[in-house]
Amino acid sequence: MNLNAWTKNLFFIGLAVIGFATLTVFLMATDRVAAPESFAPSSKAQFAILNVAKTVDASFKQEWNQKDLGMQAAGRADDLTIARRLSLGLTGTVPSLQEIREFESQEPQDRIHWWVSHLLEDRRTSNHLAERFTRAFVGVDDGPFILYRRRRFVKWLGDQIHDNVRYDQIVRQLLTGEGLWTDSPSVNFYTVTIGDTEQPDPVRLAGRTSRALLGMRIDCLQCHDDFLGTINLGSADDPTGGMQTDFHSLAAFFAQTNVSLLGIKDGGDKEYQYQLLEADEESVISPKVPFNQELVDDNISSLQKQLAEWVVHPENRPFARATVNRVWAIMCGKPLVEPVDDIPLEGPFPQAMEVLADDLVNNNFDLQRLIRTIAETEAFQRDSRADFEITDQHVENWKVFPLIRLRPDQVAGAAIQSTSFTTIDATAHIITRLTQFGQQNDFVERYGDAGEDEFAARGETVTQRLLMLNGEMIDDRLTTPLNSPVRVSVLSPNTEQAIETVYLATLTRRPTAPELTHFKSQLDQLQGTERTKKILDIYWTLVNSIEFVWNH
């Protein structure tokens, strides 16, 4: 072999070594996650948030005292567990390896603030939150053909949340939007209710407004007065029993909302008519809000606008409470008051809800500030484990973090993200995102969508278990060579590193000593393809574990 050939061989070997080294560095360090612009640990805003979080925690403790519950509570969960909770709550998936490394490189006292800042700037968060709010605003059904564009509605809402538009302003747009469902996506709030009459349905709109925006279920008043004594209206200080007319007086605000070729429009002089339970015929029912009537601005002529201004009025507490309860539920998987859209007008309210509602109203209905505050509370950061017996009373009073089964979209999101080293976000390659989109939709369809009532307790089904054990998506994610399971096998410098990588990617934690020993003893004996298979098997095991499908 001549010198030229040796040179070529050495060059090739050099290239191979460089390539391998590059891949190893990719595994070990990966690309840096961009520093979040809103990360400012010493800022006044952050101090204010921490103060509100402390007040929330103090209010919980005050309630424990008042209820004579004792002060026994779980300790703080570890940082990675809290990061996983935040990621599942805000993005619907688990942190990527890339994100975990960046998270752990932050100063311990700043990690949660850094992580929330990172997530709030991530488009995944606004998309995920938009879908959660959309389910409350318009539901999950397809709605009327042509006249309803749910995807546009979600996109519009996601843009508003990403730009941190005031929440009261978002709701104003929702209630007062006019135009076509394509050009003015907020009007899909109205068009989704178009039914047989070919016009928006005031009854359905009244129910939606009450539940989604005010956190009050008054739907049964549609047909009859409240005879169970469970619905009080009027005012918090002077509650009156719910009457059928209360519901229909609210519906009357939508009587003049109409649809034509030009889209949704508010106006005209149409009156709302309804045949009440004991009546012989239909009668005209005038618009009237079911409580806090003194907050209505009679100078506003448009019924839609009058209602919108009343709903978002800073003194209309049910609006602020409903917002706090829903955001808390999205982040924790469980609302402060259950069900999420049924908060009695006259209380009692958890004091934490009142503190957060005050802060929301006093800070321009800033959803991001609300999210940051909740994330900094001891209640959110508590461990789900405790060294005492955990009862309903501990969970109801947030003395431990609740164990909540993941929703189908979260299971799919976690399965997909955990098999990728890098974050599958808006900056990921288009093919990666398309693959993720298709796989997630197929998986959720088979697994069973949670529907509109996302925060109700759910059980697992045999179909779901079979899908996790033997489903195509899980198998595909595990065995595709470009995904992390196969690459872990090739690139991990040693067995411990390989096991740790798989644990971090799937369960966002490191293996316990017994777990490490268990798998190390198996892996140490293997080489080549057998080792790769075993690493795939560990991945499969962790994705199929109980821990993977629960938020803890």
Partner: protein, 442 residues
Amino acid sequence: MNNHYENHACGSFEHFSRRSILRLAGLSGLSWLTPLATTLARDAESKQTTHAKSVIVLWLEGAPSQLETFDPHPGTEIAAGSKARKTNVDGILLGEGFEQTAEQMHSISLIRALTSKEGDHNRAIYNIKTGFRPDPTLVHPAIGSMICHQLNEEADAKVDIPRHVSILPGPSPGRGGYLGDAYDAFKIFDPQNPVPDVKARVEQHRQLKRLDDLRVIDNEFLRGRQNNRVVQGSLGNHNLDAALQMMSSEQIRAFDVSTVPKEARLQFGDTPFGRGCLAAVRLIETGVRCVEVTLDGWDTHANNHELQAGRIDILDPALASLIKELKKRDLLDSTIVVCGGEFGRTPWVNPVGGRDHWPHGFSIAIAGGGIQGGRVVGASSPNPKRDGNAEDRTKELQNSHPVEDVHATIYDALGIDYEQELDTPVGRPMQICKGKPITELF
């Protein structure tokens, strides 16, 4: 009397129920015969001591046209040219394409004046699958889920496969609703393909090792949470055992119609729906309580006659063969077969030859499980007024029934106390069904 407004019965004495004998005694003025009639009726009833056990729903998603299927009005304006065919029961006509079903008419009854208050597909599907109108504060269970919840006997414990199955599911397969996801329908597609997700992806020794490892990991997680009383019962791997049991069970063969001789298979039609109906029989025989088989494509806003005919070509051999096969296997008496969609279609044809949504008088077919064949309950008007609200349109019907009456009929036939109240997870008492059984069917 207009023939359209008659209720038909086959007239056989063996079909006399206690109710019909009592009604006969009352109507004929022979009230003095009441004690005798009661005795006769009790005797007749005692012969039918066993309740139905299971249900097959042939779900026609998109809403079939009653005028081209189970309620033709040949020669009238609303027929718009569509024809009818005689059946083996005098006076009962079916749409032109039901050649084979017409020969089974003596085993099938028709409910011809069903009403619903929902004219939107999603809402009407919810309505007819659950027996309740959509309620934004609650998800009601589908009928199959409720049946599985209510009928849980010794024999059910021996069934390794899910007892609620949806074949060729549309976007809204039966869900457990407030009963819990455990009562959701298990979904499969064309039965000529393998059942999804029941075969391990790796060889057996590797699978067993995976499962061993899984138990190690799960035990580690559960160990730290043994003192959590709140999730006791829900935090565990109960469904892992059920899934593994199903994966290794011989009963899974019930899904596989490829072992059925070709000739028998093709009688149901060489279509996914036909194969679904064949699989439904096998599943019921195995102990499954409710099977839903979906045939979609009925939403014919344009070109109604042609499109309906295409669907009927698929439905007819499958429905007729299903009835025959159940009889052959001695399962028809214990299995209720229901066939219909979420509502009907307008009596008038629109400018593009389509029929639009019509919840004001539509039809379903029902058979088996003690329901007598060859009967028609209710009738629609052959010349409905074009103008009018829902109330006016209901007045044009004779002996109309809301959709929840079909639910009550089925629950009653299964021996389920449909008036009992169940508590939802938030403690709200909910009656199983608010309808009333359609007594004329028994």
